[in-house]
Amino acid sequence: MKIKSTQIDDTFAEAFKMWASRIIITAETKQWAMAAATSMTGFATSVIGCKCEAGIEREIPVNETPDRRPGVSVLLFAMDALGLGKRLVERVGQSVMTCPTTACYSGLESEKTVVVGGQLRYFGDGFQISKKLAEQRLWRIPVMDGEFLVDERFGVQEAVGGGNLILLGKDMKTTLRAATAATKAMRTLTGVILPFPDGVVRSGSKVGSRYKSLMASTNDAYCPTLRGVRPNSELGEDVNCVLEIVIDGLNESVVRSAMQIGMQAAAKPGIKRISAGNYGGNLGQYKIDLYSLLDGDKP
């Protein structure tokens, strides 16, 4: 099957069950809200090395934020709810509370919650103030520019991580351009993030390594420099650059939508194939078939 001149592989992306939370950061100006969000989502590309995956979901206009200030929405993913709670406490505490003028609110209505402000309140050294508005409890923690306002509990929910597209292009310039177009299109959706730098990863990995201490190593089948060396190479003579886009979303549906519009946007001249990463279907709970996204029959 093809989109324009780009071949779509008959394969599937293997995604995993994760836990996610949405964090609303507000501040006096959009600049400070974005500064906190950028800091909070730093070093959060992969659960393998960073314990969580995070990204900026969107900017929020003042009429949609709880306190009518400029806001930014962040999505944070981890493998379980307990771990997610720990990462939230770390990142809200170190990246949001530290940023001037910010306040931080839960952005998910969910039955399951984790304590965040209820942990951070101890920073107030006894001078913190609790306030309850209807069913929402907030903590006012005194800081040097006034008060840091934070929700006691943040909603968490089951989510989907590891949706992906692999773009195989004729050269680096073409592949970068296609990847950028795809990530730009995907970012129009809410409920998804692309956790890698600007949404793109070049160091795709396979499970295992010849070194016992490593649980993952370079995906040699997609490395152009190993094309002539590795018998399992997936690359033809016309492919010289491979980039991957990883997608985490609040549910399978939104991950599928992101992959769908990402494929359409990436299918440009010079992109020879679009594929997806999987582990034979043995590890992930979700199999997202590329053909099913195109709503077409297999050739």
Binding site: D67, I129, L133, R140, E147, L149
Partner: protein, 277 residues
């Protein structure tokens, strides 16, 4: 199904305890059963039918017509439904109420909303002393819920209050927030002497300069308190009459105290109050 209408036939000379007439206690009762309920009237017990003419059948929606100050304990312990009082209400209105809604078109007596645990009480007129305070012998005042008073309130508003919100659109008397433990009190009018005496935690929000500030409150300066934005937004959402709250900014002069106790309470005078140090 029409609301259960209780029209007072004649103003009683002695207080009548209306605590048996709540949606909780009348649930499933017929008109005849309700008419036969005996109410404590002084040292006597008088059937409902002697005091009121009864009509309607919806016990979740009770209307008390021609009400007066002698009718006490209205809505005591109620947890759901609505009671509308046309006229004045006596002492202990909404005492220990858990939920539901009480609306009074006239004034209300002392100890209104004492020990309130949830729900909403709205009073169009004035209220007596000890609004939202602790019931005699109890350690804590209201522990949740909202009380809105359109008129003035007497002394000791929110004494030993533990949680919840009191809004007084008029003036309040002396010892407002006395020994307050937590919660929020908003006063749009003037406040009496000894405001916040013994206050451990909690917030009193004023729009006008207090007439008297006790020595154990400390001036913390003019600050932007972001929580106020959420608080006022919540108030405006909860009650359309409070849409003007949306205009209140987050800037307020903060006084912390009472430092003779824990000193973690606060009196916030909104910026437009023009208070001097």
């Amino acid at each position: 199904m029409t609301a259960l209408l209780l029209t007072l036939k004649k103003q009683p000379e002695l207080p009548v305890d209306l605590s048996p007439l709540t949606p909780d206690k009348l649930k499933g009762k017929s008109k005849a059963q309700i008419s036969a309920i005996k109410l404590i009237n002084g040292k006597d017990k008088t059937p409902v039918s002697t005091l009121f003419s009864v009509s309607g059948s919806d016990t979740e929606n009770i209307r008390i017509q021609r009400s007066c100050r002698q009718l006490t304990h209205i809505g005591e312990d109620m947890s759901f439904g609505e009671i509308q009082v046309r006229g004045d209400a006596g002492n202990y209105l909404g005492k220990h109420m858990h939920g539901g809604h009480i609306k009074v078109s006239g004034h209300s007596g002392d100890s209104t909303a004492c020990g309130l645990k949830g729900g909403l009480i709205e009073i169009d007129g004035d209220v007596g002393d000890r609004l939202g305070a602790n019931f005699i012998g109890e350690l804590h005042g209201m522990s949740d819920g909202t009380v809105i008073v359109s008129g003035n309130a007497g002394h000791r508003v929110g004494e030993r209050m533990r949680r919840g919100t009191i809004v007084v659109r008029g003036h309040v008397g002396e010892y407002c927030a006395n020994w307050m433990l937590a919660g929020s009190i908003i006063v749009l009018g003037k406040t009496g002497n000894y405001l916040g005496n013994g206050m451990k935690r909690g917030t009193v929000i004023l729009t006008k300069k207090p007439r008297h500030m006790i020595a154990t409150f400390r001036h913390c300066g003019l600050l932007k308190i972001e929580f106020l934005r959420l608080f006022f937004k919540q108030m405006a959402l909860a009650n359309k009459e409070f849409n003007f709250f949306r205009n209140f900014g987050p800037e307020a002069i903060r006084f912390a105290g009472d430092v003779s106790c824990e000193g973690l309470g606060e009196i916030l005078v909104l910026k437009n109050a023009r208070i001097s140090k």
